[in-house]
């Protein structure tokens, strides 16, 4: 197998050791960026979704406004505003914030996190609202407090309903991360663009990253199928 690979590599000018390393660096950046933004986004989204279901408009409305803004504008524009906009703030270069936002990674992470948190908030909110009223009444009848009801009944039940929609959000986020390369970040797409511009071989450079993105997507799909099987175990018929 390595011999076959070595032979394959020797037959072309593009996939040399150095370009493979560039793709590898891009893969690491993409995975870091997507993973961190999804984790942070989910951590933000759960409390925001609970606030969003509040009947008090003072609690509900700010969260609604946030999700409305971030779902109502393209991610690319959000990235441009955060990346170029932050640099335009007077005097930011003298503060410690600049250490964080000078590079391209953290502005991109911020944009992606806020974006995915907005979508995830609405996904979880929808699942919470759809909780059967009987489950809540039963919990109340047991004398559960609001917090205990949320933790034991509503959120686990909502998680089961949200998981399929959320798996789509995760895959969309992976694909949306391709735009990180417009702010000089060398993610998978950025690596492909660099290699394309060096060798003028768009097909080879881009088909290769397309395959990597596909492989990543298949891994995500597989992981979510396992998760769904686990969460929705009780719905499967008992096998004879």
């Amino acid at each position: 197998m390595p011999e076959f690979l070595a032979e394959l590599l020797s037959q072309n000018d593009i996939f040399t050791a150095s370009t493979i390393m560039e793709y590898w660096g891009g893969l690491v950046t993409t995975v870091q960026l997507v993973f961190l933004s999804l984790v942070l986004g989910l951590v933000l989204a759960v409390p925001l979704a609970i606030l969003r279901t509040s009947k008090n408009p003072l609690i509900n409305a700010p969260v609604w406004f946030y999700t409305y803004i971030f779902r109502g504008t393209p991610l690319l524009i959000q990235l441009y505003i955060i990346y170029y906009g932050l640099a335009q703030i007077e005097g930011i270069q003298q503060t410690f914030w600049w250490e964080i936002f000078r590079g391209a990674f953290y502005p991109a992470l911020l944009a992606f996190t806020l974006n995915t948190a907005a979508y995830t908030t609405e996904i979880i909110r929808g699942a919470i609202v759809a909780t059967p009223s009987g489950e809540i009444e039963a919990a109340k009848a047991y004398g559960m407090s609001w917090a205990l009801r949320m933790r034991r009944i509503i959120l686990p039940s909502a998680a089961r309903r949200a998981v399929q929609a959320y798996s789509n959000e995760v895959i969309f986020m992976l694909h949306a991360s391709a735009i990180a390369s417009v702010v000089t970040l060398v993610d998978l797409t950025g690596a492909a663009r660099n290699i394309y511009s060096r060798f003028y071989a768009p097909f080879d450079a881009f088909i290769f990253v397309a395959l990597i993105y596909m492989a990543l997507t298949f891994m995500l799909v597989f992981a979510f199928r396992k998760l769904e099987n686990y969460l929705l175990q009780h719905q499967r018929p008992v096998s004879g």
């Binding site: 000078r102 417009v182 060798f199 003028y200």
Partner: protein
């Protein structure tokens, strides 16, 4: 009388048709704005050094030219897909490009220039001093190749699609210094307050040529002949002097 007019106009249009048939149709691609080589003036007309040179070349070749605007990323693919026949958009001759397209003799060469904000005092040729600095280049240019080969691993290289985005990051202090085609830096960076040129301009590469499809060898011969005539008869110099205070002729 009426018949005569009709006959005359038919004859005229036939003559015009014959004349046109002898001219060849050529489509030439430019990526704008890339001042002062190709850009749109205040009236929206395409102009610039290469545009005027292309006009003179078409006249010399007795060709009927149409100018096409094409973004840089799609230049070579567009040429190969026959969307146009010639690229005259400051495309530097490199071995990698020469594998895909056929280049004419070079018709100009400009150096790369280093530009930074006022207060940048580092010597750009001193690798120890440059260590850890962030350098901006346009992706895939000869400046990119130069910095990647000479300073890769020493400086942080940030690659941009357009010069505008790069200048924005130089202003925002994300970049310490940029290395860009000299006339472009002169036009877009030095024209602003608080920026300066650092170090010496660096001569790079084999110059800029007209790019054509590999199979169009006859066309390349015609282009070379026309460019040689323009360089000799003073037309080239006259156009160059309109746009540049220094010599870029090759």
């Amino acid at each position: 009388m009426k018949k005569l007019i009709v006959a005359a106009s038919v004859a005229l249009s036939m003559m015009a048709g014959v004349a046109q048939a002898q001219e060849r149709d050529l489509r030439i691609a430019f990526d704008v704005p890339y001042a002062p080589f190709e850009y749109k003036d205040d009236d929206g007309e395409l102009t610039g050094f290469e545009v005027e040179l292309a006009e003179a070349m078409c006249e010399e070749m007795n060709a009927n030219c149409e100018f096409v605007i094409q973004a840089w990323d799609g230049m070579i693919p567009g040429l190969l897909a026959r969307k146009f026949d010639l690229i005259m958009s400051s495309m530097s001759i490199t071995p990698e490009r020469a594998e895909r397209v056929l280049f004419s003799e070079p018709y100009y060469n400009t150096p790369g220039g280093w530009f930074a904000r006022e207060g940048f005092d580092t010597d750009v040729t001193d690798m120890d001093a440059m260590e850890g600095k962030t350098v901006g280049v346009q992706r895939g240019t000869t400046m990119d190749t130069h910095v990647t080969e000479e300073m890769g691993g020493i400086v942080n290289i940030k690659r941009y699609t357009t010069a505008d985005d790069m200048v924005l990051d130089l202003e925002g202090q994300r970049l310490d210094v940029v290395f860009v085609d000299y006339p472009v830096g002169e036009q877009t960076i030095l024209s602003k307050e608080g920026f300066k040129e650092v170090g010496e301009p660096v001569k790079l590469g084999q110059g800029v040529g007209v790019a054509m499809r590999k199979r169009d060898e006859d066309l390349a011969e015609e282009v070379n002949a026309a460019l040689a005539t323009l360089k000799e008869d003073g037309t080239y110099d006259a156009i160059m002097e309109k746009y540049f205070a220094y010599d870029i002729k090759m």
